[in-house]
Symmetry: C2
């Protein structure tokens, strides 16, 4: 017999951008939120910000929770502290927010019988206890990757949570999720980073460093935003989703090589046709 | 004996984003602006928008102008209509707004003795007679590429014009300009376009087209903005700046290949170091 997830407190582990935002939105829905954080100083600041009703550094704060969200970085999800694992209530539904799902699924299948991997896809420009904000998940995708063994109550609970904060619910296999985010999110970080490096290196090569910097426009700023983002996060994505990222990079190198071939061969009509297709494609992704 | 550029009307050829915006800003400075456009319908709409005091389709409108700005697309700058060339006053200073300077310089050096190539670097998301807006050039770079043969009065006039509309004046050789914009502006269009193509092709390959589209975030939107832009403009840039674009692409492919090598070799510390350098580099370009 399972309790409805709303009838008992909700637990959040980690009060960064995702955890803190969830805490704010869930409390606004009248739910009781209990949070576990690593540092005493984080707990103090999170209390000042009102990110949860109870905020502790002792894992026992999670006792009695019906649903616990592990809002931790990928590396800590893949190598969780034994005290955290031990403190998770056996009958609670557990989910995470990691941007790679297959390795997390493999790890957590052995750690908790009611674990459902999920991934709320919300902005990550800010991090830390100051980052959480209300309405972050509104209209954003929240992907879950259930397996044949996932219990239906766990699925319904996490879906209920995602929809309560306004997210758009999606389900797919973990492998498909990881390939998709590899293409759309992880590989593009490297594509964007290489652009910053080549503007820097290429500028030096033609002795025009300051000119290159002076002429960079809003287009360059947009194209390099994700490549100039959090280096730990970019590295973790590549590390934990390595196979998909490499496959996406090969795909990318082929496409770029083909466009370069058109420039080399002065095939301007064909190039314009390709760029027209890109122009037509982009709205599908927005 | 030359007249100061402000003492006679200013001519603008073409009233798209750049020409129309110049018309609005120069009139706001109390200057008389006369414009030449190609189509009668454009002239009518430009008059309704008040983009210049006189707007005609007959090149004789440029008679008496002290300074004429050729605000035309690259292909029309490289292959100008003979009637336009014939109508440019011999004693006027002529400049253009093209995003590639060396081929324009070579072409126009033979067409007008007081031609100074220049390039106001202002946004180009919109185009056409509806696009012009006030303040477009405020704080943006306006690059001129004088040669030993450029007369100092021509240089002073175009600089005066650029600074009158709030632009930040820069001078450099045409070749350096073209290499810099190849790196910072033209090559990135192809880098960004290939990302759209690989998300599309890669999504099909893993039978996850709709998932890839559903999961695309604001990061993907930013990174693909210039690749999904005007295909005619992207092609013209590659065509007229082919050598610099190819050199920039080679530079880019080397950098991306090196990052890929780190992922292949699981050199996570080195990857994080590279991404940290990118994070530190980016503010230099903003």
């Amino acid at each position: 017999m399972t309790t409805h997830w709303r009838e008992r407190p909700i637990g959040i582990v980690g009060l960064g951008l995702i955890g803190g935002s969830l805490g704010l939105d869930l409390q606004a829905q009248g739910l009781e939120v209990r949070a576990l954080v690593h540092r005493v100083s984080t707990a103090e600041r999170a209390r000042e910000r009102g990110l949860a009703q109870r905020i502790e550094t002792d894992p026992s704060v999670l006792k009695d929770c019906s649903l616990v969200i592990l809002a931790l970085p990928l590396d800590r999800l893949l190598d969780p502290h034994p005290d955290l694992v031990a403190a998770l209530p056996q009958d609670a539904v557990i989910t995470d927010v990691g941007s790679v799902k297959q390795p997390i699924q493999e790890r957590w299948d052995k750690l908790h019988r009611r674990f459902l991997p999920s991934h709320p896809m919300a902005g990550t420009a800010q991090a830390g206890v100051e980052a959480g904000l209300t309405g972050l998940f509104q209209g954003r995708p929240w992907v879950a990757t259930p397996t044949a063994g996932t219990d239906s109550d766990a699925l319904a609970s996490v879906r209920g949570l995602a929809e309560a904060v306004g997210a758009h619910w999606l389900e797919c296999p973990a492998a498909a999720h990881d390939q998709a985010v590899g293409l759309i999110s992880h590989m593009p970080v490297l594509v964007s980073a290489a652009l910053l490096q080549s503007a820097d290196q290429g500028g030096s090569a033609v002795q025009a460093e300051s000119l290159v910097r002076a002429l960079a426009s809003s287009g360059f700023a947009d194209t390099t935003r994700i490549g100039g983002g959090n280096p730990e996060l970019g590295t973790l994505m590549a590390r934990t989703n390595r196979t998909a990222v490499l496959a996406a990079l090969e795909q990318y190198q082929r496409q770029l090589g083909a466009l370069k071939g058109l420039v080399e061969g002065e095939q301007w009509e064909a190039l314009q046709q390709q760029l027209s297709q890109c122009q037509a494609l982009r709205p599908d992704f927005l």
